[in-house]
């Protein structure tokens, strides 16, 4: 029952983040087009548009990370696949997901520390926009947290599958 809610809420959150990712993709495209046209027709350039796009690249990547993970969209090298037995494959999956969880834990924990530090020192980007770096970094712990939960779900799903069998 608990798993049922966890499942639904996680899916919902991932979808929302993916939707934001798509909006960012849209925003990137049209902000750049806007910059090009404004320069070509009015001779005005908005230097911060390029900079904002750099941040969007980071947001996009981390917000979309969990959604892509859910759809098994992250590339693996599967050359040993055909050689392995079904049981082995199940255990190796658990190992992989655990490693994924470790990676995400580090990203969440140290990402949070870096974000808090940037916030405390009021660090700005080295550009003229002087964008607060805490707002950039925060995408890393947030996105990684959802990826962490997605790895957890994958492990849990393996258990539920074997119960069904």
């Amino acid at each position: 029952m608990l798993f049922f809610y966890f499942n639904r809420i996680l899916t919902f959150v991932e979808n929302i983040l993916a939707a934001i990712g798509c909006i960012l993709l849209f925003g990137m495209t049209f902000s750049i087009i806007f910059e090009i046209f404004s320069r070509a027709f009015f001779g005005t350039s908005y230097y911060w548009i390029n900079e904002i796009n750099e941040y969007m690249l980071l947001y996009l990547t981390f917000l979309g990370g969990a959604y892509v993970l859910r759809n098994n969209g992250h590339v693996t090298v599967d050359i040993l696949d055909t050689l392995l037995s079904e049981t082995y494959r199940k255990y190796s999956k658990i190992l992989i997901y655990l490693l994924g969880i470790i990676v995400c834990l580090v990203l969440v924990y140290y990402g949070t520390l870096v974000t808090l530090d940037a916030f405390a020192r009021d660090l700005r980007s080295t550009s003229l926009l002087a964008y607060p770096q805490a707002y950039i970094y925060i995408a890393i712990p947030v996105g990684s947290l959802i990826m962490l939960l997605e790895f957890c779900r994958k492990i849990l799903a393996l258990q539920f599958d074997s119960v069904k069998e």
């Binding site: 350039s45 900079e51 980007s125 080295t126 003229l128 002087a130």
Partner: protein, 315 residues
Amino acid sequence: DGVETVADNEGDSEEVYNFELVAYMGFDNILTKDVVPMWIEKIEESTAGRVQIEWVGGHEVIPREEQFDAVSNGIVDVSFNASAFFSHIMPEADTLHLSPYTPHEERENGYFNYLSEKFENHNLKYLGRYISGMGFYLWSNEKIETLEDLKGLSFRTSPVYQDILDRLGVNPVSIPPAEIYTAIDRNMVDGYGYPILGPYEDGLTEVTNYIINEPFLNNNNAIFFNMDVFQTLPSELQETLLKATEEFEYDMLVHFEKESERQWENSLKHVEIIDLGDEDSERFQEVVNDVYWEKFESDIPDEVDVIKELFDITN
């Protein structure tokens, strides 16, 4: 407890100290490629080999904006870095852009000590700097004879001089370094700001017509050490390091003068030099100064008076 550490280490005159150095540019850049090895050699010679320094690389090793913290946290021991890449952490560093002094004058008139204190607040030991008296120039494809001619042109910008361009009526366009060549070649922008060192090496002079002979701001470059690590050195080695870097500053004045001469010669193969005339030159420098003092007023209001006094500016 710094004294204690020194005392502890005093007796051991055989120990060899190994340090790692990163620079804001890599093994290939004209501002670092010969200079860093020259400093290392100087240090190793003057300490009779007791201090060994390994240059691990440039921003391919640690991103240049992170090197300040990396030295401060002890990930590496020394960095060669320009204020543009750490003034977001230590805004006082940007005053280097306006210093009217040579490095040795700075050591005498207190500005060196002022900066040392600021570095110390970040757990860093300021050893000195190696580029001075070398400004930025506007490189242009349009012939500029007066400041009026600049109005309405588009120039590739950098945070260092963006406000200056703005104030001069130039439209600043942001372009990644790798694409400056194409942007100039295709007339996407009319020019860019750059020191005399660089455009020839990067091939940019091939597609540039003019350089405005009006250097502005100082290129600057600081050498700083992790404070804890520095203090583990016996006091006589600390002295030697400071002394050697001071000498190095003299060497670099000569080195970059020669280098500049060579680059002027090279650049003028492709590029024509143009002058603004006395009156506009003065106005131009006024804009530069205004922009930077306003910036200091807003970023470091408490420091402005101190710096004005150090720079011997009265108003």
